[in-house]
Point group: C2
Chain length 379, copies 2
């Protein structure tokens, strides 16, 4: 622990200062402060308020916390606040927390379970008892011990199967499978068959679900998916999300090289989509004339050129729901069972997608990939 200059709460009045000035006791001040002023003598109240104002008194959360074990502070852990998606997420979490009188302290996990755990434990040592996890690693075991100690956790962006965990876990998420499905389906509906999927290999629930959605849509349309259409490049070690766009570019370049027949691309998220667009252009192809690109998340999709068709991630609704769920639990006004909130996404069509052109390349599709089959799941 670092040295500090020992500066005390200089200039900060304490409850006893107020009591003295108001000619009453600390207890009474405390009662007043905690909403137990209902049947207090009016002039006592008046004196208290006057004293508080005069002294510019604010109660110390530390002292209060020491006594009650309670602090109006939430922890937020995301892969990286530098990622615009999580920045927006943080912004909404902040606002919802503020509305309930809570502050939020954040940490970037860098998708590292150990780092995430350390942060969470640090939060605990600060007295924080409510935690929002804004990512979705497959495993949550690193938080089990904390949960058993009493940390309330709500997971954002992944749907949790309650029975998967030994501890109660609320979850709030967009229906990621449906997101992947909608993105793919949109391309399919436009007439594309050879559709690539641009994603890093980081194992998260939301990513797995989105990919499942892609497969479901393809299957439903009777398109046999070529393995080369799905990127398998693992995301590099110190994964910070900062390089997501670069990764998307590399991945897409690879995809395009292996499979010239591709006319449509579904990107895991906006950052990957930006990288994908760059790669498509470097490959000498136009968007959407030659390759259509659809993104998921819709954080910056509308801002670029061309504006990207994207499945919109309802971040605000999710964040608000997560915060309220968490605080409700902290304040003990909840049923015991874990809650799972899932919100359906919608697609926003913009200018990065269009009908495929009849291209000589597509005609020369190698092997069976892209070939239409009898659609046995037709609906």
């Amino acid at each position: 622990m670092p040295e500090h200059n020992g500066e005390r709460r200089r200039g900060t009045a304490s409850i006893s200062d107020v009591a003295r000035l108001a000619e009453t006791s600390a207890t009474t001040i405390s009662n007043y402060l905690n909403g137990r002023a209902h049947r207090m003598a009016v002039d006592t109240i008046a004196r208290i308020e006057e004293a508080i104002r005069h002294l510019n008194y604010r109660p110390s959360y530390a002292a209060r916390q020491l006594k009650t074990g309670y602090i109006p502070m939430l922890g937020l852990l995301v892969p990286s606040v530098a990622n615009p998606f999580h920045g927006v997420l943080a912004r909404h979490v902040e606002e919802a927390a503020l509305a309930r009188g809570y502050q939020v302290v954040f940490g970037s996990s860098l998708r590292d379970a150990l780092r995430e755990q350390r942060y969470a434990e640090d939060f605990w040592n600060f007295g924080i008892r409510g935690l929002i996890i804004g990512s979705s690693p497959l495993e949550l075991g690193h938080l089990a011990e904390l949960a058993s100690r009493g940390m309330r956790i709500v997971v954002l962006d992944r749907n949790v199967n309650a029975s998967d965990f030994a501890f109660p876990l609320d979850s709030v998420s967009m229906d990621n499978l449906r997101a992947g499905y909608l993105a793919t389906r949109h391309l399919l509906d436009l007439g594309h068959h050879s559709i690539g999927y641009v994603s890093g290999a980081t194992p998260t629930v939301s990513r797995r679900d989105r990919l499942d959605g892609y497969h479901q849509a393809m299957r439903e349309a009777g398109v046999l998916v070529d393995l080369n259409w799905i990127s398998t490049i693992p995301s590099s070690g110190g994964y910070d999300d900062t390089n997501a766009a670069d990764l998307g570019k590399v991945i897409t370049a690879e995809l395009l090289k292996k499979s010239v027949e591709l006319t449509g691309l579904v990107a895991l998220n906006d950052m990957y989509a930006l990288g994908a667009c760059a790669a498509v252009r470097e490959h000498g192809r136009e968007i959407p004339a030659e390759v259509s690109v659809v993104s998921i998340d819709d954080v910056v999709a509308s801002l670029v050129h061309p504006p990207l068709t994207a499945v919109h991630h309802p971040i605000e609704a999710l964040s608000t729901a997560a915060v309220n769920c968490l605080i409700d639990r902290l304040e003990g006004r909840h049923a015991v069972e874990a809650q799972q909130i899932v919100i359906a996404p919608e697609i926003v069509v913009r200018l990065s997608t269009s009908r495929p052109k009849i291209s000589s390349r597509a005609a020369s599709t190698p092997g069976v990939s892209g070939k239409l089959q009898v659609n046995q799941w037709e609906k």
Copy 2:
């Protein structure tokens, strides 16, 4: 204050539990914990460590803070973490703080002095004594009272003239004037004369400085600036930075309408630049063939199409410097005088700028605007 379920630090051992198990006193544990174990008996140390491990003991920051007035937590206030620039800023602040053992709690000020003040006061009530202000309103008076109480404040993104304030204030910033200058100068060097400046009217120091840089470059090149080249649309009320791109678009549309002779555009930041690009295209002009665009900040500039020429904002260096400066002060290892750190930016040339085409429009420039003068500042 909201009700809570009164859950105590259940399952959390205290220092006396450790003392008991280690068959020693709390003081000794405390000494051990605070790096005063130099000449402690080795077996005492061993028993302590064993006990700590066994109990999974972690000291309570709240109790420690109550005693010492110290808490390893920093407050960070930015206009909006949803803004990618500030998200990246927050990420670097986080990392620098973490390296020094500090957590960071953040708030979005929405460029509202009152909101900013409330946050800062709340931070204070949590025991936080170090604050980073990541915006640069012209006035800082709303923080004066807090500063006088002992809050350490470092301002990021604005250069502070120490004597402007009654309280000591460290500042860390890029040389914003130079940033504006470099951006404009780049366009000038390419041969542009009619150069617009895209910015909201929010009064901040960094914005004023950047605009000054624009003027300086224009003056130096002997170009008379037409008032219509500089947007004067005030940013709308509840300014959240979320709509910066939209604002940039509206502003640019206006600029282009008023002044068809413009062949170059300097944008206040990346978000404005994105909006500017959209407006240029809607106006039926190509980038950079017909209009060159240069941005400032370079947060997403490289990711879009075409990749934007931009003055690079050294956010990491600034954030790290700010955090270290702040913590040094908190830990009392600083000279008394306020520090001003200024870092020079550099421009990164990409594909959104090129030499202007000889256009009939430019030739028909109305009035004197855009006319070359004798360059009396030539160097």
